[in-house]
Each structure stands twice: as C-alpha cells, then as structure tokens.
Subunit: 274 residues, 2 copies
Amino acid sequence: MAVDATDVAVRFSEVSVVTPRGDGTFDAALSEHWTIGGKPNGGYLLALLARAATATVPHPHPIAASAHFVRSPAPGPVVITTTVLRAGRTASQVRTSLHQGDVLCVESLITASHLTEGAAPYWDTGAPPMPAASFESCARLVPNLPTGLPVAIMEHVGVHLEPAAAGFTEGRPRGDGVLSGWLTLPDSEPFDPLSLIFAIDAYPPATFDVEFSGWVPTLELTAYVRALPAPGPVRVCQRAHVVADRRVDESCTVWDAAGTLVAQGTQLAGIRLG
Amino acid sequence: MAVDATDVAVRFSEVSVVTPRGDGTFDAALSEHWTIGGKPNGGYLLALLARAATATVPHPHPIAASAHFVRSPAPGPVVITTTVLRAGRTASQVRTSLHQGDVLCVESLITASHLTEGAAPYWDTGAPPMPAASFESCARLVPNLPTGLPVAIMEHVGVHLEPAAAGFTEGRPRGDGVLSGWLTLPDSEPFDPLSLIFAIDAYPPATFDVEFSGWVPTLELTAYVRALPAPGPVRVCQRAHVVADRRVDESCTVWDAAGTLVAQGTQLAGIRLG
C-alpha cells in the first residue's frame, strides 16, 4: 500500500537534506523509503552528493555528476565530505565521498555551473525519440516485481510505463531493452536539477524488457543535467545496450512536461544473465 | 607531414608510460604529439590515469573510468596520485589525480575488474549499428581542419572516416551529428583496455557533421570497457545528441576488427554554438 506522503518524510526534498557541519562535511540520513531490496537507490545517493557539492561552491547547478559505488550503504545516518577541486568563473568541480560509520560507500565527482533559464536547444536532432504516450495512458508500475525483491521506493515514486513498454509486467518482455513513460516524485513535488539526477536512475533496469534478473547493482553512474525543468512530471526513456560478461550498460534520457530534454544518464551495472 | 613513428616516441604505449615512485604516486610525461591545439587529448589523459590506477590494485582491467577536467595541462611532466578506495574480490575502485606543478588538472575515478577472454555478448540488440564501410573504403582524415587549430595527434592517430560521414571535410556536413569509421594507433599498435579509453575520445567532435566550431573542451568523460579487443584497427561511431546552453553531449561506441563491441564512452563538453 502506498504510504500517504503527508504522514512520513518521503518527499525528495525531505529525504535528500544535507546538514552542514561547517567544514565541508555534511550529515544526512538515507531514507528506508527510497530503497530497492533494502538498499538506497543509486541516483538518490548521487543526488544527495550533488546537493552537498553545490552547497560548497558559487555555482548552483550540478551539470555533470559521476559516482563509483564502492559498497552499498544501509538506510540511516551517513556523513558526506566535500573537497572543492576548483571554484572557477564558469564552472566548479567538487569531489564528494559518502561514508557510513568508517566505511566509504560512494565516491563522486561533480561539476557545477549555471543552467540558463529558458535556454532553447540550438540543435537536438541527435536526441532519441521522446516517449509519445500521454501521462493518462501510462499505468503506474506497482511494487510487486516478479523478482521477489521489495521495492519500497516504488510505493512513493511514480513510474508510469507506456503501454507498449509494460509487457514485462505480464511476463511478455518485447526484447527491445527499453522502458519508457513518465515519472513523478512523491507528493507530485516539482523536479529540479538535483532530483533530475535521481530521475536518470529511477526506472527499473531496462533489461526487464528482455529478461528478468535479480538485483542489478550499479557500478558507475553519470548524470548530465542539461536544462532547468518545467513543473510537472517528466518523461523517461531508459535503454539497455549490451549485456556481456555479467555486466550491462544503460542510458537514460529525461524530458520535462514541456518536451525539453533536461537530463541524460549512463550507467554500468552488474547483472546475472548469461 | 606525418612523423615516422619509429623515430620519435609517439606510440600509445610510449606516451602513456607511468613510472611508480612506490607510494601510489607516479611520474608521467604528456606528449606534445598527442595534442589538439597544443592541449593533450582528454581520452589520452584518462587512459594515463587508468594505467596508474590499475597498477595499484589486483584487478588488471579498467571497466569504468570517469574524469572531470579541472584545468587543461600543457605537454610535459605531470604527477599522478592514486588512492585505493577499495580492493575487493570482484572489483576495485581507485581515485586518481593528475597535477602539473601545484595545479590539479584532472581528477578521475576508476573501477577495475577482470574482462573475460573470449566472452561473447549475451544480448546486444540495444547496441547502435556498427559502421559498415570497409577499412579500405575509409579515407584518413588529414590534420588541417578548417578551424585553424593545429591537431598534432591526427598526424599519428589514424581517423579513417566512412565516405558518408566525411562530407564536413569538404564543407558539406550532413546535419546528423555522427562521425563513423575506423581508428588506428601510431605504428598500428594493437588496442588494449587502456588504449580503448583513448579510443572513445579519439574522433573529432561529432558536431562537425552539423557545424564547425572552435575548441570543444571536454568537461566530463566516462568510458566503459566491455571486452578485450582483437588485434587490428577498431570501428568507431561518435554521435552528438543535443547542443544547448553552450554545451554538447556525445556518445561513442567502439567495436574491434572482429565486430565485438569493446568500449563505450559519453562526454559533456563546452561548445561555442548557439
């Protein structure tokens, strides 16, 4: 059952709070509600690191964020350390680390800059096709995947799949390796550059459109935030490219409700197929 | 004129030497021959960092490498520092920094693991189409781009463009934002996982197939190495997706001579268009 978002702190802005200690170190608490199989979502962790990074430099927007996942943290308290590599005129770079107790869990590099309000793309012919289905025609994915893993995050985050991409939910994957549709945050909170970093890892593995597997742990995740998003849900296209040697790469493209491409992601993950 | 590769040290294995000091620190020398407009190529720098990283852990192959470019170094001596974040059973993670004098130029994160010899892809339907033209039908790009920038690296590295992608060299870009063809290393040196990291940034900006611009400085570069390459030249497809707000993202896919997808790259760069 979906928890009422007004009763517990499950909004993105609530679960991604970072509290500065004043020396470039931040305290945070990983939400048990933003987990898959009890483990916090990778995009959520990278967004949290980007929030800390952008709090330390003059540039407000993370435009490129890369994380390498070292160990999977549990829900609960974590400490984020930041090191400003350069605070430049047009961009700043920050190294960030997420520790739980003495254990390093995630290390990331963040480049921050300024996204121009209302900037229209100069050329976007190379962008993949935007999901065409209306929000109303996309059914929300329920958190009872055949994998048996509890997916707490999907009780709060709305993954609304296009009908053509939803075959896997009834045991009929197409074999395309593409999941597409819409995404909403808890309590319909508007997206911002930080929650867009979560958005590029919010969908289930696109390999579910090929074949089910167990946990697909992200090894590396990179996000590019390209534009400030309009209010409303975003469109997502998550695409798997190659499964080989027990690893899979996926790309993700995110458009805002006005049809502007706002974020892109790529990841390499482990997978038990083949 | 092309310099004879046997006379000066321009081979990849020569220009990417890292010499350990014994404390996780390495000395290296950036080659003036591997530059664009006098600045070392970004993929070359990331490959150098990956060589240092994999020298510090039990896992021989970089499978994911992400760099954020802080300042552009000049050719000449640099110092690489490495910090092992975790030396695990199936993978290790290493943070690496490249300094020139006191100046931090590049920071990167490397995940190393083991690529299985002869592993065939389990599923690769999501891969982009492989360039179809034969090596013999692809003319080598000469280093006299209309931008006026000297491109020393292209006197040594062979970018052999498919005829359909070479229109921009005669002032007729197609508008697709795709450059594809073959790539050779100096002296026809065989590729390995380290030089594949260079390969994903070896081609000119794919935006040249849309419109010429000046220098397109890479802000972030991520490489995934997916398989051990067969001997011989590799096929490359470099693709631009969106130019917006003075930035462009590009993806790159690399196949070996046997047709196996061996590496993938993505980058965000600055661009003076729009």
